[in-house]
Symmetry: C3
Subunit: 480 residues, 3 copies
C-alpha cells in the first residue's frame, strides 16, 4: 500500500496539545514532565463494576471501542449514512436489523474518521490506537481491516483483561456508578480479593428521587430491600436511603452522584414531602411541578444526609436526556441524544449552601455543561463556601479548548484549591489514560502560560499541576 | 501633504488576521494560500436582485458604501455628532432634513474613521478601499475628498457594473432574499440571460407567518396571487405557501430563511392554527401569545414542507428589531437599532428535530447571535441530528475574534462536517470579498493552530479549509 | 533562612501580564511604556471619604490590607480553616470571638498565600508588597512576621498618610461613593483645602429607591433633611432627590451609581408610583413585585433627572447580595458572600434608552458581572445609542483573563470610543495602582496583538491605549 491520505502514518507527537508559542511550550513541557507519570485517580465514571468482578476478556474491537461510546456513535449518526443499528446498537424491541458483524461496525467507524477532526474523540482515539494497540496507520476504509486485526489480536492477550489494564493504565482508584438498590455484591467480592480500596461504588439514587420514574415504587422497595428496611412511607423511605448510603460507605464508597434536571435544592415542609411521596408510592398521579419540587427537596435531604455520613455529594444537572424521543424509545438511554441547556445555580444552590455550606462534614462537587456559569456563578460560590468544590469540565466540554476556557474562566475567582481536579466521567474504559493525559497537557499549557506571563513562579506551577492531577481529586473525594 | 497620523499610508499586510505567534503563522499562511483563490459561494445575503437584473451603475461612493451599511451608520450615530439623516438616510415621513450631498456624507464617515478601530468594519473597509479602489491613504477629514474622487472615478467605469463585479469578485453563486409574494420576474429574466445558476432567490416568508404584521391579510393574498392560489382560509393559505415555495425552487432557489423572534417550533393542533389564521386574516384581534404560538406552529409547517420539497431551511432568531421605536418610526427597519437577546434552542427546536431531524430530505441550518449556545446547545444538536447544520457566525459576531471563538467552541462537539461553512449575510455588496477573505484567514489561523499543537496533520487542515470555504456551503445549501 | 519554596524571593518582572508570544510581547511593551506613567483617574470606588478628610494614619497591616478586602477574606474562608471572625471581622452582635491581634490576622493571610495562585488578588498584592512596601520574600507562615514588621514600619511614616498616598499613587481624581442623605461635609471640607477637583462624591441612592429597605422612611426623610426638603409624599420625595443630586453636583460630583438587582427601567404611571411610595413611606406592606416595579420606575426617574442635571448615571446590576443569610446576619454586608447571576439588558434598558438614549445631556455607563452579555447585548447597545458607554469589567471579572475576554468580546461591536475606560471600583486603597497597572498591561497586550495581526497600526494602538487609560474615563465621567 503506498502512502495516500487514507494510509498516512498515525503518530503521536510528544508535544501534542501543548501551546504552540515557542516561549510557553518549553515551560509547559517541563511542567508536563513532572505529572505525566502520576497515577490516575478516576473517582467518577461509568465503567461497569462487572468488568472487574468477572475480569472477562473484551469480545472484539467494535464492542470495546465503538458500541459503548456515545461520542463516537452520535458523530457517525450525524453524517446521515448509518443508523445506530448499523453501528451495532440493538433496538429495545428488536424492531430493526442490528449489525452484528464487529468488523463491519469497525469499518463504518474508520470510514468516518474524517468527521472526528477537531474533536476530542479524535485525540483520545489516536492516543488509544497508538499507545495501547500499536497502530501505525490512519484509520480509513482502506486500513480498517488491518487495524481491526491488530486490535483483535491485542484484545485476545491475557494482559488485556480488565484488572490487568488497571495496572497497565496506572489507575490507582476507579469509582463506579451504582443504583441506589445495588446489592454491592461485586464490590464485596472485589474487596475480598484486595480491590476494596481501588474499585469504589458511588451511590446514584436519581430514580428513587424522581416521582415520575415509571417504576418508582418498585425501585424504592428494591432500595429498601437492599438496605434491609421495609419501606411503607416517607419516613421509612428516608431510613432506607440513609441505610443504603451507609452500606455504600462500608463497601468503600466515598461519594454520591445526582443527575437532576436542574440544580434546585429548595426543601419542602416535611408534611408536603411525605404527601407527595405517598402519592407516587401508591401510584396516584403527581404533576410535573410536584416532581420537580420533590426532586429539589430530596437534593436538600441528600445534602443533610451527607453532612451526617460524610459521603461527598456530586451534582451533575442541566441535560435534556433523550432529546429525540423516537430514537430513545428505539435504542434506550445514553445513545448520544442528550442535549444540555442553561441552568441557574446561584439561587438554586442557595438553600443547600446556606444550610450546609460551612458544615465541616459536608462536601459538594458541582458540575456544569453550561460554560457561562463558571465565571458568573460557580467560581464565585466555590470561592467562598468551604464545603463546595467546582468540578472539572464534563462530557461535551471535556475537550482541549473547553478545558482551557475552564482554567481561564474559573481560576481567577475560585483559585485552584477550590477545584475537584480532573475527573474523567467516561464509560469508554480504554479512553481513561488518554483523557487524563489530555487534561494534564492542557493544565501544563495553562500553567506554563502563567509562568511565561510572570504571573506564577515555575516551582508553584509544578506544585499546582501535581495538585490538579493527583492531590486535589484525592482530597475532594475523601469521605469526611 | 506631509505624513501625519491622518494621512498615513493605507496598506494591507499579506499576513493580516493570521495568528501572531511565529510557530503558527507560517502554517496558517500555508493553509491560507490553498484557499485564498477559491471562488466565493455566497448563499445567503441581502443584495437586491434588481442590481443584477438592471445592471445599472452605482450612483456615488456614499450610496455605495455608507448609506446601505448599518454597521457603519450605527457606529457613527453612537458618536453623537451625526444623526442618520446627516448620513443620508431619509426619514419615512420627510420630517427631517436629509443630507443629500454624497461628498458631505462621505466626509462624515472619514472623520469618524478612528471610531472603527478594532471593529470588523475597519477590516472590511480597508480591504475594499485598497483592493477595489486602490486607495493609499488613511481615511480622515483631510483625505476624504481625495478618496471620494478616486472611488467615484472607479465607480464610473464599465467594469464596475454589478454583473462585472460578480466576475471580478469571483462570486460563483449569490443568494438573494425575497419576500414570499415575490413575482421572481428579475430571477426569471436573469435566468434567461444565463445567470440562473448564479443568482438564486431565497424564500423569506416572515411577514406571512406573523399574525401581528399590520398588512398580514394583504401580504397573504399577494402571496396567493403570486402562486396562483386564491387564499380564503388556512388550508388555501398553506397551499399558497407550498405553491410559492415550488416556484422559488423552479427559479433556482435552494433555501428558505426564517427570522423569527425565538426558535420555538411547537406545532398547534390544526384546528387551533386554522382559527388563529382566520382571526388575523379577517382583521380580528390576536394576542401576543397567539402570535408567538402561530409563528412557532408555522416554523414547524415550514419544516414539514421542506421535508417534502427539499428546500434548505435557514433559521435566524434572537434579535429585538427596532429597539428604539422612535428611530425606527423615523427611519424604518435595518438602520442599526436591532439588538440581540438570549434565545433557547434545545427545547425550542425539539419538536422540529424529533419530527424531521432524521428525514433524508430535510436540511436545516441554524444560526445564532448568542455565542453562549454554540457549545451548550447548537453544537450538541448539530453533532447528532443528520438534518441539522450549524450556521456560521452571523451579523455582530461575523468578526475576527468572534469567528475564532466560534471555531473554538463549536468544533469540538459538532466537528467540521456538521457546519454550513462561511455565509456572509450582507447587504454591502462590495464587502463580500473582504468578508470571505477574513473568514478564510481566521479559519487558516485556527487550523494552523491545530496543526501547530499536533492535533491535526497539515494535509487534513488544508482539506478542511477547502471544506469550510467551498465544499461545505455548496453541500449545505444543495436542495434535497 | 535558606531559600525554600516558602521563602523564595518575591520579585516583579517588568513584562508581567504581557502576552508570552515573542512577536506580540515587544509591541505590547512598547505600548505599555507610553501609558504606564499616566495619572490615575479613579472615578468610581469605595474608599471612605473620611480617610482623606481626616488624613489619619492607617492602624496596622491587617486593618490596611486584610480586613477590608472581601476578595482576600472569601478565599481564606473558602479554605475552611478560618472564619471571618478569625480574620478580624467583628460580628454585628458580638456573638463570636473576633481576632484582634493584627499580627495573628496577617499570619493567617500569609499561611494561605498558596490559595491565591492564579487569582488577581495574588497579582495586586504582589504589586503592593513589592512596590509600596519593598517586600522581597514570598508570603508564608515563615516570612509572615518579617513582612508584617516591614509593612508596619512603612505605614508609620508620614509619607503614608492617605493624602500623601494620592500623590505617591499619582491619583489625579478619585470618586467616593456616598449615600443619598450624605451631608457632604467631608467633601466640603476637602474642597476648602484645595481637594475639590480631586476627591469627588458619587450619589448612591439605592436605599431610598427600594421600598423593602427596613429603614426606608427614615432614609427618605434623612435625604430630604440633607437636601432641605420636607418629604411628605411622592412629589416631595422626587424634589428631595433632585435637590440632593444638585448638592452633590455642587460639591464636585459628576455621577450617580445604582446597584439594583436587575437592569429593569420600566416606568410606572405616576399615580401608581405615588401609591407605592405612600404605602412604604407610611409603613404599610408592599409585595416583592411592587418593590421591583418601583425600583425599575425610579431607575427611569434617575435617568430623567440625569438628562436634566447632567450627572452621569452608572448602573451595576446582577448581584445576589448576602447569599448566605446566616453569615450576612452575623457579619454584615460586603464580606464576600455576594454572588452574580444572569441579568437581561436588551429589554430591561429599552425604556430608558428609547426615552433618553439620544438626549445630548444624558450619559449612562452600564456594567455587568455576566460576561455573556458583552457581545450579545451591551456592546450592540453601546454601539448605537450615543448616551450609553459600556463600563469596564467589574469586581470578579476585573482580572487578567477576564479583562482580555472583555476586549475580545466587546470591542468588535462597541469599538473603543463607546467604552468608559478603566474603572477600579475598590475599597482596598493600596490596590488602586496595582489594579490600574494590570489593566494597562492587559490593554497593551490586546492592542499589541491587534498590531501584530496587522489589524491596527502602532500609532493607532498607542493612541487608543492613552484613550483607554486616561482620556475615556475623563470624558465618560464628565458631568454634562
Amino acid at each position: 500500500m503506498t502512502e495516500s491520505p487514507a494510509t498516512r502514518p498515525l503518530t503521536l507527537h510528544e508535544d501534542r496539545a501543548l501551546p504552540a508559542d515557542p516561549v510557553t511550550r518549553p515551560i509547559a513541557r517541563e511542567i508536563y514532565q513532572e505529572i505525566k507519570g502520576l497515577p490516575i485517580v478516576s473517582m467518577h465514571g461509568h465503567v461497569p463494576v462487572e468488568w472487574f468482578a468477572d475480569d472477562t476478556p473484551f469480545p472484539d474491537p467494535a464492542q470495546l471501542l465503538v458500541v459503548p461510546d456515545h461520542y463516537l456513535l452520535r458523530m457517525i449518526v450525524s453524517q446521515g449514512r448509518y443508523t445506530l443499528a448499523d453501528l451495532g446498537v440493538p433496538t429495545l424491541d428488536g424492531s430493526a436489523v442490528t449489525e452484528t458483524d464487529p468488523r463491519t461496525i469497525w469499518r463504518r467507524f474508520c470510514e468516518n474518521w474524517k468527521a472526528f477532526r477537531g474533536t476530542p474523540t479524535r485525540f483520545w482515539m489516536e492516543h488509544e490506537l497508538v499507545t495501547i494497540f500499536g497502530i501505525t496507520q490512519r484509520p480509513s476504509a482502506q486500513t480498517a481491516d488491518a487495524i481491526y486485526d491488530q486490535i483483535a489480536a491485542e484484545i485476545a492477550t491475557p494482559g488485556f483483561r480488565p484488572r490487568n489494564l488497571l495496572d497497565r493504565f496506572a489507575i490507582e482508584t476507579i469509582g463506579t456508578t451504582d443504583p441506589a438498590w445495588a446489592s454491592l455484591e461485586h464490590h464485596t467480592a472485589l474487596a475480598a480479593q484486595g480491590y476494596g480500596e481501588r474499585i469504589l461504588p458511588t451511590f446514584r439514587p436519581d430514580p428513587v428521587l424522581h416521582l415520575d420514574n415509571p417504576t418508582f415504587a418498585h425501585d424504592v422497595l428494591a432500595t429498601g430491600a437492599a438496605a434491609g428496611v421495609t419501606v411503607s412511607d416517607y419516613a421509612t423511605y428516608l431510613d432506607a436511603l440513609r441505610a443504603q448510603r451507609l452500606r455504600f460507605k462500608a463497601a468503600g464508597g466515598t461519594a454520591t452522584d445526582h443527575g437532576h434536571l436542574v440544580a434546585d435544592t429548595t426543601p419542602l415542609p416535611d408534611d408536603d414531602a411525605a404527601r407527595l411521596f405517598d402519592a407516587a408510592f401508591t401510584g396516584r398521579p403527581v404533576t410535573a411541578a410536584q416532581v420537580s419540587a420533590f426532586a429539589a427537596h430530596m437534593l436538600f435531604q441528600m445534602a443533610a444526609m451527607a453532612a451526617d455520613d460524610g459521603l461527598v455529594m456530586q451534582i451533575h444537572p442541566g441535560v435534556e436526556r433523550g432529546h429525540s424521543r423516537t430514537m430513545t424509545a428505539r435504542y434506550g438511554a445514553d445513545k448520544g441524544y442528550d442535549i444540555p441547556f442553561a441552568v441557574e445555580y446561584t439561587r438554586a444552590l442557595r438553600p443547600m449552601l446556606e444550610a450546609f455550606g460551612h458544615h465541616p462534614n459536608f462536601r459538594t462537587i458541582v458540575f456544569t455543561l453550561d460554560e457561562d456559569v463558571y465565571s458568573r456563578e460557580l467560581a464565585p460560590l466555590a470561592g467562598v463556601y468551604p464545603a463546595m468544590r467546582l468540578g472539572a469540565p464534563w462530557w461535551f466540554i471535556d475537550s482541549p479548548e473547553a478545558m482551557r476556557r475552564f482554567r481561564e474562566t474559573a481560576t481567577e475567582t475560585a483559585g485552584f484549591l477550590n477545584l475537584s481536579g480532573f475527573v474523567d466521567d467516561t464509560r469508554a474504559f480504554c479512553s481513561i489514560p488518554a483523557r487524563h493525559d489530555l487534561a494534564r497537557r492542557i493544565d501544563a499549557g495553562y500553567l506554563g502560560r502563567l509562568v511565561a506571563e510572570h504571573r506564577l513562579d515555575l516551582d508553584e506551577a509544578v506544585d499546582t499541576a501535581i495538585d490538579l492531577t493527583y492531590r486535589l481529586p484525592k482530597l475532594a473525594y475523601e469521605a469526611r
